[in-house]
Amino acid sequence: MSDELITSDGLNTEDQTTLSALLSALLPGNEQLGVPPGNDAAVFEDIQATIRISALEMISDGLDELRKLALEQLAREFDSLSNPIRVQLFELMRSTNGAFYGTLSSVTVQCYYRNDQVMESLGMEPRPPYPKGHEVPQGDFNLLDPVRARGKIWRDV
């Protein structure tokens, strides 16, 4: 864990810097697609709030491990690395610290894909399913004609 104390408010500054650098590498923004980077302010805030609920210590430990990995393998600070190298180091942790990799990956996609801008880029309204719901076409039940034509398939007793 980082030397700096974790407070009940969430990750310390060093962890926040590392996490921001990692998120911008995992989910690069793309103006053409209209999607923000993973360290966009709203996404970042949501991710930190989610981590704070149940995984703060584990994520902090993992981020510390990520920084050490950068120093040991590349003699560089993690946030000074290029995006592809940051992703490579994170992928290394899939096998060495699966809990961190899995939890951070899960939290990241949860928060990213419920972000207003991301949902709008996917053609979705940024809202919960209820109460408006969604439209689904009824479909053409004439597709059943060959099934009907074949007749009974249940087994007599």
């Binding site: 989910l27 697609l33 992703v87 399913p129 209820y130 719901g133 076409p137």
Partner: protein, 533 residues
């Protein structure tokens, strides 16, 4: 610890307890139901919030161990490749089920006679048919008449929409000449019995905020309560007590404050599902029943059946339903009946689901290496968003005495009651059936134009269906209850849930559980004058 006896005490307010309570209410007997869970508040269901998909892994997880609500009890299922799924509340696991609502087939009640495996049921399809019809009326079942995989059934509510996903998958079945049909669904597609119609929230397995999906807290229970049944929540039963005459005298339970209480009863009815029911019975030890009440056969907790499930999904070039629609779509029973050339006995149903929400799509893609982190992430995601669809195969599980629910020696719930321990092994027949189902589903998806087929077999988290652990039968040495649900050993003790199942069929059990509960309750009503003879 004392109280005035009630006429009927029901343990559990899920699918079976609700149906039995409703049926018995017209006798005007004093009926009390004890439920360890609470009433759910639909305005708090996940689909009312932006984080709806995330709550699948939190307070609305199907795993009681993961969910860990105060109303849950832990389950030690570490010695099983399939893990228990349930929900503890008024409505039980119908709160979280998808609403797939098939009936058993006539052949499912004659497995031994037809295929030489398992056992025959002591009742048949015709016996249950009027109770299926009665349950269907209360539930509000959507479907399309004329399915050639079934005998004719009564009229339905309009079917759930095919949607883009259903039509796409149907094209695959049609190319192969295989059966498919719009699934029977416990979903109100038009307003029904005070419930509003489905608005395609796509969150059926997180509780239906619209109230269109038929969970028994909004189907049977309002009617039962209006008819005089008393439902007490946050009451967890520890044991059923018995006297020297082998008659149940009542139950010991813990109330919301953890205070031990006793409720005397003339009749006790257990409705706690295929894991909860043997847990209560086995924990009810006495001088008369040192191995647990109603267990002189030694079969309480044995013959546990899940349905081994496989998941087979693919991605398509064109947009499908994705995050829209009820989960229930179409089914196929092409491989339902036995054909030994397939390498297994008995069969399975394919249940096609529409698609996935945006978060679930990303999770699947990232963890299955279909979507990379970093460069190429967004493009790969767009290839999957609203383009995933597929099916699960729900395979018949055969009864084996080595698959058991017992009491854990160490693990206990918050009231100190021993937790259930599950020991379960997949049979060679199940493994063969799973493989066959994955191979054939892959053919369907490819025929429909899918690429990048993703499979999971068995679905480890998919222990939704808990059956067989207090089976019915006419022989007291080979069954726990008789052919109308009464314990062979304790003549005022009845069981009404999936524990009764002799075999599991290859379909979801809830419609049959409700029909069985209505059948047992009706059998009691017809014998009230000599119920204990």
């Amino acid at each position: 610890m004392s109280s005035d006896p009630v006429d009927v005490l029901i343990i559990g307010a899920g699918a079976s307890g609700a149906a039995a309570a409703w049926s018995l209410a017209d006798t005007k007997m004093r009926i009390v139901c004890l439920e360890q869970g609470e009433w759910m508040n639909p305005s708090e269901y996940p689909s009312t919030g932006r984080d709806w998909e995330s709550r699948h892994s939190g307070d609305f997880s199907i795993s009681p161990n993961r969910r860990g609500r105060i109303t849950d009890y832990p389950v030690n299922d570490s010695n099983s490749p399939i893990h228990v799924a349930n929900f503890n509340a008024v409505g039980g696991s119908t709160i979280l089920y998808n609403g797939h609502f098939p009936r058993f087939h006539p052949s499912d009640f004659r497995v031994k006679t037809l295929d030489g495996v398992g056992d025959d049921w002591p009742i048949d399809y015709q016996t249950l048919e009027p109770y299926y019809d009665e349950s269907d009326r209360l539930t509000g079942v959507a479907g399309l008449a004329g399915d050639p995989a079934y005998p004719p059934k009564q009229e339905f509510l309009p079917p759930v929409p095919l949607g883009l996903s259903g039509a796409k998958l149907a094209s695959g079945f049609n190319k192969l000449g295989w059966h498919w049909w719009p699934s029977d669904a416990a979903v109100a597609t038009v307003p029904h019995d005070g419930r509003d119609k489905c608005i395609n929230l796509s969150a059926c397995t997180l509780g239906c905020a619209q109230g269109a999906k038929a969970s028994t807290d909004i189907t049977f229970w309002p009617h039962a309560i209006r008819a005089g049944v008393e439902l007490r929540t946050r009451c967890r039963v520890r044991e059923i007590t018995v006297n020297e005459d082998d008659m149940a005298t009542g139950v010991v339970y813990f109330d919301e404050d953890g205070k031990e209480q006793f409720q005397a009863a003339e009749v006790v009815m257990v409705a706690c599902n295929g894991v909860g029911t043997p847990r209560v019975l086995l924990n009810s030890k006495s001088k008369r029943f040192p191995d647990g009440i109603a267990n002189r056969s030694g079969l309480v907790g044995k013959n546990l059946m899940f349905h081994p499930y496989a998941s087979i999904y693919g991605t398509f070039d064109e947009p499908l339903d994705g995050y829209r629609g009820p989960g229930v779509c179409i089914w196929s029973q092409e491989f339902y009946e036995t054909d030994l050339n397939r390498g297994h006995v008995r069969g399975f149903t394919y249940e096609c689901n529409r698609g996935r929400g945006p978060v679930s799509t990303a999770m699947t893609g990232v963890f299955r290496n279909h979507i990379p982190w970093g460069e190429g992430h967004h493009e790969a995601y767009l290839d999957m968003h609203n383009r995933m669809s597929g099916m699960v195969s729900i395979c018949e599980d055969l009864p084996e005495e080595s698959n058991t629910v017992t009491l854990d020696e160490n693990l206990k719930d918050s009231n100190g009651i021993p937790a259930p321990k599950v020991d379960y092994t997949l049979s060679e027949n199940s493994l063969n059936m799973l493989k066959f189902s994955v191979d054939r589903a892959t053919e369907v998806l490819e025929a429909a134009g899918a690429k990048d087929i993703m499979t999971e077999s068995p679905i480890g988290a998919g222990g939704w269906h808990l059956m067989g652990t207090a089976r019915m039968g006419t022989d007291p040495d080979r069954s726990v209850v008789n052919e109308w649900g009464r314990s062979h050993d304790v003549k005022n003790l009845f069981i009404v849930d999936g524990s009764l199942f002799v075999t599991s069929a290859g379909v979801n059990p809830t419609r049959t559980i409700q029909a069985l509960a209505l059948y047992v309750a009706d059998s009691m009503k017809q014998r009230l004058a000599n119920l204990f003879d």
